[in-house]
Subunit: 216 residues, 2 copies
């Protein structure tokens, strides 16, 4: 019984790692579509999101089966419930990548991000992609140290958001309202992707140590 439980739980965590990798691909492709105005790439992110949704359903069913058949308690129970939450957050990160891809698609053949703000936006996208890559690793290795480090690095995203607002509200901004609104919303999407990565890392800390990180 105990062994079946461990196998099933490992299988759920493998699926979470797989979904997190797919999210990483979605974030990267959405960003590429955004920066190049590549409509096919944007369409691909939007279409492929249904695979993430399906993978989420499979994890949910597996977690329910585990809860029903093995009836875990205490730490084991919390681990399964944490997995359910993690998969919900991963799916949401996929949705946010779709939002980025849709902004990209809307502006084709133009590019939504004006030149001056591209360095800041590219950095936000890179931080978000990096956090997804790292959280994939955190889930795969249930690595508490790496999870704690991830929470600390979230500050760069906050700083980048402030920088982007300063840029688009400065007197030098001459790209009008539409580009400013795009940049503000894109920044919000990347920030939320980063927030979810930190939240998932905190859930891994909780699963491994039994304690919630104080700064979460």
């Amino acid at each position: 019984m105990r062994e079946a439980y461990t196998d099933q739980l490992d299988s759920i965590f493998s699926d979470l790692v797989d979904i997190s990798r797919r999210v990483g691909v979605a974030v990267q492709r959405a960003t590429d579509a955004l920066m190049t105005g590549d409509v096919e790439l944007a369409e691909g992110v939007i279409t492929d999101d249904s695979e993430i949704d399906l993978a989420r359903e499979r994890v949910e069913e597996a977690a329910f089966d585990l809860l029903s058949l093995q009836q875990p308690v205490a730490g084991d129970l919390r681990t399964v419930v944490a997995a359910l939450r993690m998969v919900a957050e991963l799916e949401r990160m996929g949705d946010l990548s779709v939002h980025v891809a849709k902004v990209a698609r809307l502006r084709v053949p133009d590019v939504a991000v004006p030149d001056e703000i591209r360095p800041t936006m590219a950095r936000m996208a890179a931080v978000a992609a990096d956090m997804v890559a790292r959280v994939t690793d955190v889930i795969a290795r249930r690595d508490v140290e790496a999870a704690i480090a991830l929470g600390r690095d979230d500050e760069e995203m906050d700083q980048l958001r402030r920088t982007s607002f300063a840029e688009l509200l400065s007197d030098d901004w001459n790209h009008g309202v539409e580009a400013a609104v795009d940049v503000a919303l894109l920044g919000r999407y990347y920030e939320r992707i980063a927030d979810h990565a930190v939240s998932i890392a905190n859930r891994v800390i909780f699963v491994v140590t039994g304690h919630k990180p104080s700064a979460s």
Copy 2:
């Protein structure tokens, strides 16, 4: 045993109703702060959010106790897991109200929303507040018909988002970039509050009928 289970589950749903009411108050107060530039009201929303967070923790603990001690299966298990998800969404709706309140606070003594766009923004806020009020009732009465109706009415929010973008991207817009960015982000926050209300309504449908709504 069965009776204890039912009592505990009812207690969890009562707590969800209570949290949903608090969210309704937060949405309303954040909107009032936004429309009047009332800094104390905005501060109140931000401060009171910690009560929603604490109430969420209490529901989570109660749900874990129920899962550990009663070990529900099948429909009962899905109900408890649904409650965990609903409370996470309610907390998020509280956070989104805090975001609205923070935009209001940032612009004091000015008002973030220019006159021309106030009708659209006020309507978005009213739709969001109405959906929170209705979802509170849906949870309280586990009312499937009302839950289905809530999903249908989400379309007005989509339409309002399009209207607000048309307004702030029109040639008549002369309030500059900052107000446009505020309006775009505020619209996003209200839209997300409405999305969560629909999602919670769908979870109630699932809890009562055992089936996910096809349009979710």
